[in-house]
Every structure is written in C-alpha cells, then in structure tokens.
Amino acid sequence: MGGAPLLRLARVTKAYGDVVAVRDLSLDIPANEFFALLGPSGCGKTTLMRLIAGFETPDDGRIYLDGQDITDLPPHLRSINMMFQSYALFPHMSVAQNIAFGLKQEGRPRQEIASRVEDMLRLVQMVGLGERRPDQLSGGQRQRVALARALIKRPKLLLLDEPLAALDRKLRHDTQFELMQAQRETGTSFVVVTHDQDEAMVMAHRMAVMRAGAIDQIGAPREVYEEPATRHVAGFVGETNFFEGRVIQYMPGGVAIETSKGLKLEAFCQQHPAIGAKVTISIRPENLRLSAPGVFSSNGSAGEILDQVFREGLSSFRVKLDTGDLVHVRKSVSEGGAQHARGERVFVSFAPEHARALLT
C-alpha cells in the first residue's frame, strides 16, 4: 500500500457569498484512521464535511479518494458514507429497511442484503429490533441504526457529523468506545466532526483544530494538547492559563517576557519572535506549582487561594495573583497537593519547559 493517502484535500476553498467557509485548505487522511475535525461552531468544519460527502462543490481545489479525483462526483457515486447529526432515519421504513437501503441501491441479491443487515444489527447490538420503526427507538438506538446504515456499504471513509450531540452524558461516554470499536472492527477511516474537544481527545488517532475556515494544527490529541501551535488551539483544546506580554530576552530554548503588569516569565518557544514582539504564554493548570511563600521566587507570582473545587480525584484551585491575574491550578489529590485553605498565601510558579510561548 503506502503512497497516496485515502483522502486528500488539495487547496480547497468554499465561500457562501462573502463568507469564506473553507479557505485554501489541504488535508491528508490515511486508511484505517479515526480522525477528528474539531472547532467552534462556524469554523467551517461542517462545510468541510459536506464537501467531502459531495453535498457541496468547492469553488477551488480538488478532492481525491484513493487517488481518484472525486471533486465533481455527486454524493451517490462516492464510496463515502455519512452519519447525520439528526441521524436522518427514514421514518416510514423499519430499522432493517433503513439499514438495507444502501445495499438495495446497489441492486444486491435479497439473500446477501438480509445477511449483511443481520451482521450490521449484530455490530451495533440491535439484533431482534429490525422490525421496529425509528419512532419506536430510544435516542441511543437511533444513533446505532444510523451508524449501521452508514457502514453497511463498507465505505472507505465514514463521515460522522456530531455523532454524540443528541445523546445524554452517560450514553455519550459509552458510545465513544462503541464508535472506536466499530472503527477498529471495520477498518474504515472515520472522520468525526465535533465541537467537543473531549470527544476528539478520547476517540481520535489524529485531530485537526479548525478556526475561520482553516486548520490551525493537525496532530495526535496528546501532541496537540502538549504542543499547541497557536493560542486558539491552546485555549480550545483543554484548559489553560494565558499570560500576555512582550519578549524582553532570549533564553536557551525559549524566551523571557514581561507582562503589562510587570511580571517576568520564561517559557519554551518553538518560534523566533523578535525582541519586543507580542506573545502569549500558555501554561496548563496541572503544570502550575503551588508552594509556600519563600520556597520559589522566580517564574511566577505570589497570590492568594480564592477557592477550591474537588472533582474526579483532582483539586482545582482558583488563585488570585498579586498582579491581579486569575489562574487555575489543578493538582491530583493522591499527590498530596490538595491542602490549601481558602485565603492562604501561596507562590504560583512553573518550570519554563512546561509552558509554551505562542506568537499567534
């Protein structure tokens, strides 16, 4: 195999009137990958998905599937299937008829359709429910029928539009793992469109973070979390603290900045900003240290504990720094970092290699 990726978007642009939804975007997705398109609403991720499915045609650029140019192919001729956010189950057909729909269009023999529908019902754990109508199903069951219907043609690529948005919290958690399992078992590449960074972090092998019609960063979830390329990515994926300032000095592997409030901070930096350039330092809550005043004195600020929340084995503190900045600090309870009373004076600091100075 090797060589060409399963899906290639080459400099794709799509505008609606004056609004550019997708701008000069290129993206490769290999076979057998669970890929997530992540971004806030209006970032162009839905348009991108509809371009891949064929419901929209790009104004510029080409789309290739398995090396074949499919840019001008209508949806019914693409071996890509989609699971709709509303599921779009056919209300006048039974579960089995819904699932069989795609194969019927291929004109497969009845026997084959019946056995493959049965296989799909097994895959989504809906055996015995084939005769039900969509309005007799729960939300979770409808989601699974939609998945089965989209997978029965064994597409090379499956698009999933906000697949968990209509489910409640508990169900969402379980369904994430079911989707991951379905992806492994079918070997189909899944492209999930979501605005929920948790979903992308849990499910995806790789993810693209989008903003304003373009991709800010592509990478494995952990990589994106630990090495955000832009301030937008750092803020969108996971929780973080920002310090804005101007570069005052180069350090080994990084820069020192001074904030408008006179705080001097050092951070790792992969770019090369000029002295005086505006940068933002991003530091994750779990990478901030809380210490008694006097233990550390650099790369941080003294402050006062505002409040503390305990959740899922973690203590989250809000600390008001003497500069007026508010920061979030997270400590694992088992590490013994949870003993700070409200109003207690602390020194908040961080190791420069744990923080990232970002230009944009």
Binding site: A53, G54, F55, P74, P75, H76, L77, I80, N81, M82, F84, S86, A88, L89, F90, P91, H92, F101, G102, Q105, E106, R133, D135, R149, A150, K153
Partner: protein, 302 residues
C-alpha cells in the same frame, strides 16, 4: 369540586357542540331528504306525497307511513340513465383528480423547496383565486375557451392552428374547469406534507447511493402519502357531485350526476327521485372517506 364543576360543564359543551352541529345540519337534513326519497311525486305543493302534519292523528300518521316506499330507489338502480351518469361522474372526477395531482405535485414541491421567506407569499398566491367568486371565474373560462374566445384568437393569430379548436362545451372543458377550480385544494395538503420533510432525508438517501429519481419515489412520495390522500379526497369528492362546471362549460352530451339531479329536481319536478339520486351519491362517496380513515390509522404517530 366546586371549582371543577363549571369546567366540566364547559367540557361537555365543547364535546357536545360538534355533535349538535352534525345533528342540526347533517342528520336532520338527511332525514328530510330520506323521507322525500321514500315519497311519491305529485302535482302539488310541495310536489310529493304524503306530507305529514300534526292534524293527521296517530292513525293518519301510520297510514301515511305505510304509503312510503322504496320505488324511487328501484328506479334509480334499474334505469341505465342514472347508472351511466354515476359512472361518467366518477370517471370525469377520477381523471380530473389525477390531472390535478400531476400538476399540483411539482408545484407544491417547488413551493416547499423555495427559500423560507418566499413560502408564505407562494401559499398566498396559490389561494389567491379564492378572492374572486367561483362563478365568475367559471364564466371567465367560457370567454377563454369558446370558439371566438381568447385562446383560439391567440392560436389563430400565431398561425399555430387554421381552424378554431372546439374545446368549449366538451368534456375537455369540464376537466379544465375542475382542475383549475380545485387545484388549491390539492396544493395545500401536498405542500403541508412536503414542507415538513427533513431535507437531510434526501441527502441521506443520496449518500447511500440513491439517484435523485429513486430518492423521489422511495422517500419524497411515500412521506407525502397523507397529503396525497387528503388532496385527492378534497378534489375527488366535490368533483363527483359538481354541477356548476359541467353545466356552464360542458356540452349537452356531458353526463354528470350533479346535472342529472338538477334536471330531476327542477325540470321534472320529481323531488323523490332527485332525493334518491342524492342519497346514492352520498353512499358512493362514503367509501373513499372510509379508505382515508383507514390510511390515517396506519400512519405512524409523530
């Protein structure tokens, strides 16, 4: 308890009002028509006998009751004239309904798929003809269709025909009249059914490999079924009994039951036979209504 009493009285009224309405304006008139159908024609005022009166007393009432008979029903069944009038009405109404459906479906589909801010205006346009009297619009069709009418003049002056078409006073003219008059009754339920359809369903069908043609027949049409049924009934039932359109636009050979009824009633002054014809028509039209009822029951709950 005391607080609920007036409420339940109101409820009883709300539930009872339709029943009362049906009793006063449907069942009572129906009983009168039935009674006339069982009477005999007479040269009198009213033109049938017997006529009941309070002065008859109990025995007089029973005598007159005995005089009622089903003779008129026998006549309507045995005389080929009525049978062929019924059949001809059903045939014309069926053809007209089919034509109306064929014209209304694409129109309704276009309306339902039009940009949202246009739809209300399009619905208003569809029902705009109702702002002019029905009778005047049918008269206008005479002006259009007759031999020296506008349509013939136009076609002649364009050189498309050399002799005027004789549309007026034919079955064709009756069909045109019915289709034109009842089109809004077909469009509204169809539009309503089509407008509710989730556009994502068609995208899903297309995504699964269905051509636009297949999507139309497997998704759009089946999901519009209730609208199609409602529209067909709204056109077919009144079209069967239609009198004004065949009378004004049809020729002497256009046989429809509405006209036959009129003739019996006004020209022959045979009220009992006219009543029997009307009752048969009613029975005939209950059948499609019952079909509709059954289809409504089968429709999945939304």
């Amino acid at each position: 308890m005391s607080a609920r009493a007036p409420l339940s009285a109101l409820r009883r009224f709300v539930l009872g009002a339709p029943a009362l309405w049906l009793l006063l304006f449907f069942l009572a008139p129906f009983a009168l028509v039935m009674k006339i159908a069982l009477s005999k024609p007479a040269i009198a005022q009213p033109p049938y006998e017997p006529t009941f009166s309070l002065a008859d007393g109990w025995h007089g009432f029973l005598d007159k009751l005995g005089a009622l008979s089903f003779d008129t029903f026998d006549l309507v069944i045995s005389d080929d004239l009525y049978l062929s009038a019924y059949l001809s009405s059903l045939r014309l109404a069926a053809i007209a309904t089919l034509l109306t459906l064929l014209i209304a479906f694409p129109l309704s589909l276009a309306m339902a798929r039009a940009p949202k801010h246009w739809r209300t205006a399009l619905v208003m346009l569809a029902i705009a003809p109702f702002w002019t009297s029905f009778l005047i619009r049918i008269y206008a069709w005479i002006m259009l269709l007759k031999e020296e009418g506008l349509i013939n003049k136009l076609l002649l002056s364009l050189g498309l025909i050399s002799t005027p078409l004789s549309i007026f006073a034919t079955e064709g003219a009756v069909l045109i009249g019915i289709v034109y008059s009842y089109l809004p009754f077909m469009i509204l339920p169809l539009y309503n059914a089509l407008e509710r359809q989730d556009p994502a369903l068609l995208e899903a069908a297309s995504d699964l490999g269905a051509t636009p043609f297949t999507s139309f027949w497997t998704i759009t049409v089946p999901l519009a079924r209730s609208g199609i049924f409602a529209g067909v009934l709204l056109v077919f039932i009144p079209a069967v009994g239609e009198f004004v359109i065949p009378d004004l636009l049809g020729g002497s050979d256009t046989l429809m039951i509405g006209r036959t009824l009129w003739n019996e009633f006004f020209d022959n002054r045979d009220w009992p036979t006219a009543s029997a014809v009307a009752i048969f028509l009613l029975v005939l039209l209950i059948a499609p209504l019952m079909l509709y009822e059954r289809q409504q029951m089968r429709e999945p709950a939304r």
